[in-house]
């Protein structure tokens, strides 16, 4: 069993951070993980992405050309990675910043208004956490409890940020779970 995802957006959206959180949570769950950032000549405000692999077995290629899931936080990311998603895979779209529908019809598409949700929670910078939550809700790649622990650890120096980030994570999770149905069971589990 392997979950892999390319998370992409523009610099400053916290893409690399949520990728790392996902990898940490996977590791804490006892899974094999890898986190690979894009690196290259990039300009400030340019695009960035990372690939996270979470597997029951040692991770083979940390480079994934046809990921099982793509999280596109802005339009250039959707334009770049939509074509790469494995057929039948998952495409998460930040509908707050992306005003077009995906062209692919062979994917599970989940639209998450990540910025709007984060704004409504009073923490505009938590849009990345909403998106991470949506990914977890749609895939069940790692348990949300492990990610919660990582969030607490990540923000341990700024405890005032923990609650709003956890709230953002859960709101995203609900959107992802509701949109796919697949993970609804795990929502119930988490709620119990």
């Amino acid at each position: 069993m392997q979950n892999d995802v390319i998370m992409a957006g523009f610099g400053g959206q916290g893409i690399l951070l949520i990728g790392k959180m996902l990898a940490y949570a996977g590791m804490h769950e006892g899974k094999e993980v890898s986190w690979l950032p894009s690196y290259g000549p990039e300009m400030r405000g340019g695009t960035c992405n990372c690939t996270v692999v979470i597997s029951d077995r040692p991770v083979g290629s940390p480079v994934i050309r046809s990921p099982r899931a793509v999280l596109a936080m802005n339009l250039p990311s959707l334009d770049k990675f939509e074509r790469d998603v494995r057929p039948g895979g998952l495409l998460l779209v930040n509908s707050s910043l992306i005003n077009r529908d995906p062209a692919r019809t062979d994917l599970t598409v989940v639209k998450v208004p990540a910025n709007e949700i984060a704004n409504s929670l009073g923490n505009p910078r938590a849009a990345n956490m909403v998106a991470l939550g949506a990914y977890l809700g749609a895939t069940g790649a790692v348990s949300i409890a492990e990610v919660e622990a990582v969030v607490r650890e990540t923000f341990s120096a700024k405890p005032q940020l923990v609650d709003s980030n956890l709230l953002a994570l859960h709101r995203g999770f609900e959107v992802g779970a509701a949109a796919t149905g697949k993970a609804v069971a795990s929502v119930a589990e988490e709620g119990s």
């Binding site: 690196y39 000549p41 083979g60 046809s66």
Partner: protein, 362 residues
Amino acid sequence: MAKKLMKGSEAIGEAAVQAGCRLFFGYPITPQNEIPEYMSLRLPQVGGCFVQAESEVAASNMLYGAAGTGERVMTSSSSPGISLMSEAASYLAGAELPVVIVNIVRAGPGLGGILPSQGDYFQATRGMGHGDFRLLVLAPWSVQEAADLVQDAFDLADFYRNPVMVLGDGLIGQMMEPVEFSSDRQPIKELQPKTWAATGCPGDRPTNIINSLFLDPEELERHNWKLKAKYDAMTRDEIRSASYAADDDYDVLIVAYGTVARVCSTAIDELRERGVRVAMVRPITLFPYPYQAIRDAALRASSVLVVELSTGQMIEDVRLALEGARPIHFHSRVGGMLVTPDEVIEKVECILAGGAAEVSHG
């Protein structure tokens, strides 16, 4: 110790510190800057010293001087910077100084690009600089293995009094994976006190002189054969390789090293699921090279596929290993482009269908 998620560059730095490295000399170059960054943070915490030199030439000669004191020392760089260190590497080998050199290879030639490559294979395995010498070269395929091999590299450098290179690429440097450091790691070689080191001599022992100049040709010839005997000992005792999916029978044997072997392992998993019989042998030491292991593994296959990020460098060692015993095929990407599992799958299927041209000999 518990597993930590670490960047390859950080794991390399931490491994060096855990191995007792206290002095680091370097000069910035992408994609390995996280190594000196980490060392600049970490070494002062353990009573060590980090120096950012004015150039790679300076850094590598500082390395020479510091190694002469018997301290465990390291530098890291990437391809163009390593070329600038090649003169010092020759002096280090000539003066028999133990150092660890990390090369996070980027695409070339010249300044090239900053993305991953294996284009420095010849440079690493054929001596790196002028004169008749070799580096012991270790090629990790994961962050954990990078950490393990860096620690081993210090023991091997001390044991052979020879520079040891850890050859990685931008993927190893940049990616994060779980790493575990053993809290009671023992040296992998039986190490003698460094009685040769120049540590200041109050007159109670003969003066130690660190030097690579031998103007008497008879003396230099003896020195050359002494060095050769070390390389022979490495070839006898230090060869390392790993196999993948080779317990079952196979028709095609892949030979790949470093991160490319990771990509190939994914291709092998997918091919095996489809019933395609394929396996891999992965050199871990590039010098000394596992000729016999590759030959033995290849003789169980009907053909061999070499995959590397160069236009054809390691394939020459595979040819030496096989001496024509099996047809050799080749797949590569260069310039910073990466081989994908799909490409490897396609190539293997093409070979089995008889549609792939064998690499010509000569």
